[in-house]
Symmetry: C2
Subunit: 218 residues, 2 copies
């Protein structure tokens, strides 16, 4: 492995280990010392990439807004659904995503770094505005308010679902869409939307995404 | 003030101060020493009521499932809506409620004490089953799944709303119901439901609830 590849690989390994610790223990209880124990890297090796816990948290949050697997669809509303289903599929399988939510609901970390919720709201709103322009929405739908509510609802369903061992996030988010879409999609569009909990896995395969490593939680 | 009244008063004061600290700083960063500084009570005075941070957290969570202001309604579905609107109104005004959510989304505290989400799901499911028996629900509605989704959606909307200074939780939860109820309530029932963000305040006044002290956040 060339030196530069090795550095990229090491940086990623550190970031994923830090994300796992933020996710398991929370921001306050995670320490650089504990991270070094976990990844068996020297302090110098770690500091070459990250010099503080704050920097690690920021790097984790920077990875949070990702569109992997999202592909253009005939219906813009389908893209909005796809984004939420993709995240629901990926979150239990990717420590970086899981940790970024943990940092957002953690009051201390949120105070230091903010959250990525406004970014998600903006992405959702843009998709819904475009869906509206194409006549895919019922006339009363307000894109900004609907995007905001979905970010909230998605986040809370994720929080609650991870405390329920026999529930699957993809299925819960699929149910959430079945509940809300009839009051969002115009009549002809609703029947064409795919809200299946298996859709995200298919999209990722079609996109040729790097294999998603198996879930920590399965 | 009689000795017993004074003890009840002191216990409540301690609990509210602890709740404020859990809410502001999170579970890990809250300490008995910090609490003593805040409330200016001796260690002995505190220990008469609570001997550990764990005991304080459990007492906060025990206060979390409250039905204040809920009154029997002609429609059971209205009671389900009322419960969510009442909590949305009270949470920004009552540190104990706010702290109980914070402890539920805090991964460390949740590991120690669990959450009250299963209790809320059960209460919601019971109301929805009864609503179904009375013909208030569309035929496809599954009470358990719907109650579970609302607990998740409510929790996340609260989390996200508190990061948005110009948004009000009562209005957001009111919007959430406007989004989901058309796919839950049977046609004749939907028009009769009151989802106004001002409903909770009215219910609390009618119930003659002790005056809600003014919001910390207003």
């Amino acid at each position: 492995m060339a030196r530069q590849d090795r550095a990229i690989h090491t940086r990623r390994m550190i970031l994923e280990a830090a994300a796992e610790m933020f996710d398991e223990f929370g921001y306050d209880a995670t320490s650089i010392g504990g991270l070094i124990d976990r990844i068996q890297l020297t302090r110098g090796g770690l500091y070459f990439h990250f010099t503080s816990k704050e920097q690690l948290a920021r790097a984790v949050l920077d990875e949070a807004v990702t569109m992997n697997g999202l592909a253009p669809q005939a219906l813009k509303l389908q893209e909005w659904v796809d984004l939420a289903l993709l995240l629901a599929y990926r979150l239990p399988r990717e420590p970086l995503l899981s940790a970024s939510i943990r940092l957002s609901v953690d009051v201390r970390a949120r105070g230091l770094f903010g959250t990525r919720w406004p970014d998600w709201m903006r992405v959702g709103e843009e998709l819904l505005v475009e869906a509206g322009n194409r006549g895919e929405l019922l006339p009363h739908v307000e894109p900004a308010a609907t995007a905001r509510l979905l970010v909230g609802a998605w986040t809370g369903v994720q929080q609650v679902t991870e405390t329920l061992p026999d529930r699957d996030l993809s299925e819960e988010i699929s149910c959430l869409f079945e509940l809300i879409l009839p009051n969002i999609a115009s009549a002809g569009v609703l029947a064409k939307l795919d809200t299946s909990p298996y859709r995200a896995e298919r999209l990722l395969l079609e996109a040729g995404s790097p294999a998603i490593h198996s879930s920590r939680r399965e």
